[in-house]
Amino acid sequence: MQRLLTLVLWAAVALAGAGALAAIALSRGEPVNGVFFVVAAAGTYLVAYRFYSAFVAARVLALDPGRATPAERLDDGRDYVPTNRWIVLGHHFAAIAGPGPLVGPTLAAQFGYLPGTLWLIAGAVLGGCVQDLVVLAFSLRRDGQSLGEMARREVSRRGGMIAMASVLAIMVILLAAVALVVVNALKQSPWGAFTLGATIPAAMLMGLYLRFWRPGRVLEASLGGIVLVTLAVLGGQWVAHHPHWAPFFTFTGPALAVAVIVYGFAASALPVWLLLAPRDYLSAFIKVAVVLALAAGIVAVRPTIQMPALTRFVDGSGPVFAGTIFPFCFITIACGAVSGFHALIASGTTPRLLTRESDARLVGYGSMLMESFVGVMAMVAACALDPGVYFAVNAPAGVVGASGAAAATTISGWGFHLDPATMDALARSVGEQTLWNRTGGAPSLALGMAHIFSGSIGGERLLGIWYHFAIMFEALFILTVLDAGTRVGRFMIQEILGHAWSPLGRRGSWPATLLTSGLIVAAWGYFLWRGVLDPLGGINTLWPLFGIANQILASVALVVATTILMKMGRRRYLWVTLLPAAWLVAATLTASWQKTFDADPRLGFLAQARLLDERADSGALPSEKAAETRRIAFNNRLDAGVTLLFAALVVLLIAEAALEWYRILSGRKQSVVHEAPYVRSRWLEASP
């Protein structure tokens, strides 16, 4: 009887998910409610978790709850600590969920709501979650080894070096892209700039409290921090209306870029307890709370989706970024469906905390499902906006026109009617000077979130507060990524330079810290600076580069995982990792090729560089403008080089892995897995 009930229940969940998916996929012109997205995603996730993740865990990985984990065998109370799986789930989710699943879907909404939503759901259950789970499981069986170390031991020494080089290169582009999102969100916004600026002393105050007054009392300090940042959001409104302070906190893009670069340097060089850690605590709490509030808000407000299922920009002529659905929808969504960076977290702290091997399923697969759900909610928030408003905010002036009237004419010409007065009224209602050309995804997402939140609490009256709360929320954890990423990048550079001259590798050395902090900040700061000066907004270049880099790292992780599965003798299940890897390699290599060599100057870096050179050489430009044009042409060639470097890294790793596969399959090499020895878990013995 119970079996029958279970069957009926799962059939109902599957039908609800499939029905909602069909409703959003087949609707053409009829209004679609945001709740359908939630039901479609939740139904698919539940079925995928119950059946597919169970299959991967049991059949493919043969996770064994009776096998002692590193946390049990090496328990030292510090690095290796057996921890309740729900707590590890919270830690892991807080670590993997960053700005990517919010910004990526918002930008991909230019194709319409359908392509991005389908990829967010399907990509996660078949690709992203599988990647996170298999990497976590393999690291778990290797005492928490990193992805690079697993690549070195299981693929080849060269494979390990390629993986490490990929991580550093990707880190630079990631940090530049997210920094640009913050800069674009805060420029000409005294309210936003004040609020985010105020979070720095708030975090430092928390740091001092935790360091000197009440060491380790994180909840007390975080509660104080949350009160302070809430006051900062409210105080920002006062600042924005003050005749003296408003101009003081109104910054241009370049000024903000300098501030972010200086901040990144300071966060990397300063002691971790002073700024990085307290900001991280604040960010983690606010992140979890806002994600839950957004889900509740969507269900409560039930927003109507205004964006069509597919827009005319599926042909690659999009104003937010150039390129067709394949590969650019997948590249742009990135983290919400599959994120290579998760492989670094899954092979970092998390495997050292799991009490049982079987917990990897909940933590690895489950956390990624939650991240994908965040992406779906971001898609709902972006698509609930009037499409005209969405394009007015996200399209750069270089595409739609510099004046409001010109931009409104261009956008209306695309079939999305827009009155310039609507944009002015909207800017006033959220307390901003302007909302035109606020590229980067963060402002339009904040608008969508503000509409959903104000629909639940406060109505139009609180729209401005909610908008700036959302901006603060996005910027806060982008800065956390910036802090933590810059610091890890610094350690990587120190490790590399330490091989050349050992004093540079010393962690406690101030000259080495300052030099390597300067190097990593200069690397991402360069890409940020030119993104800020880009007349097309910069994000149209940096985000696809970031997406390519991120998906290439995911390909690397899945190729390493396939090699390990082959060595484990799980050849009939290789498709589980090989199929998503093949898809990602196809998408990233196609995107790399098109971004480098496409003849359309809006898409191809080299075509754009040639066009700019021709303009500079034509003699029609004043000398200063011609020099600037040549600089932009050089930057485009540099981007082409970076893109090709990423593509070369993944091709090299695949060649290394394919050689290893050939050796194993042809019997030329004995297949040896480098797992930690099997030890029976004492937890199992303790249980009845």
Binding site: D75, G77, R78, D79, V81, T83, N84, W86, I87, G90, H91, A94, A95, I96, A97, G98, P99, G100, S146, V167, L174, V178, L210, R211, P215, G216, R217, V218, L219, S222, V272, W273, L276, A277, D280, Y281, A284, F285, A334, C335, S339, F341, H342, L344, I345, G348, T349, F477, T480, V481, A484, G485, R487, V488, F491, F546, N550
Partner: protein
């Protein structure tokens, strides 16, 4: 009968509080002390700083 829902609610609140303390790291030192060898453990401040250095040595936050 009327006490039952309250007891359930209290148990749930207690579980949520325990989760929050463990998730935030608030309870980390107590957990460490429970496992540490008598007389050979770090002070609360040293444990806190040591934990931060370990956490931010590797990629701890993602995109």
């Amino acid at each position: 009968m009327s006490g039952r829902p309250w007891r359930g609610l209290m148990l749930a609140a207690r579980a949520a509080w325990r989760w929050l303390r463990a998730f935030s790291g608030d309870a980390a030192y107590e957990a460490y002390l429970a496992r540490a060898v008598e007389g050979r453990h770090l002070s609360r401040k040293a444990f806190y700083l040591d934990g931060l250095e370990r956490r931010y040595r590797t990629t701890s936050r993602c995109c």
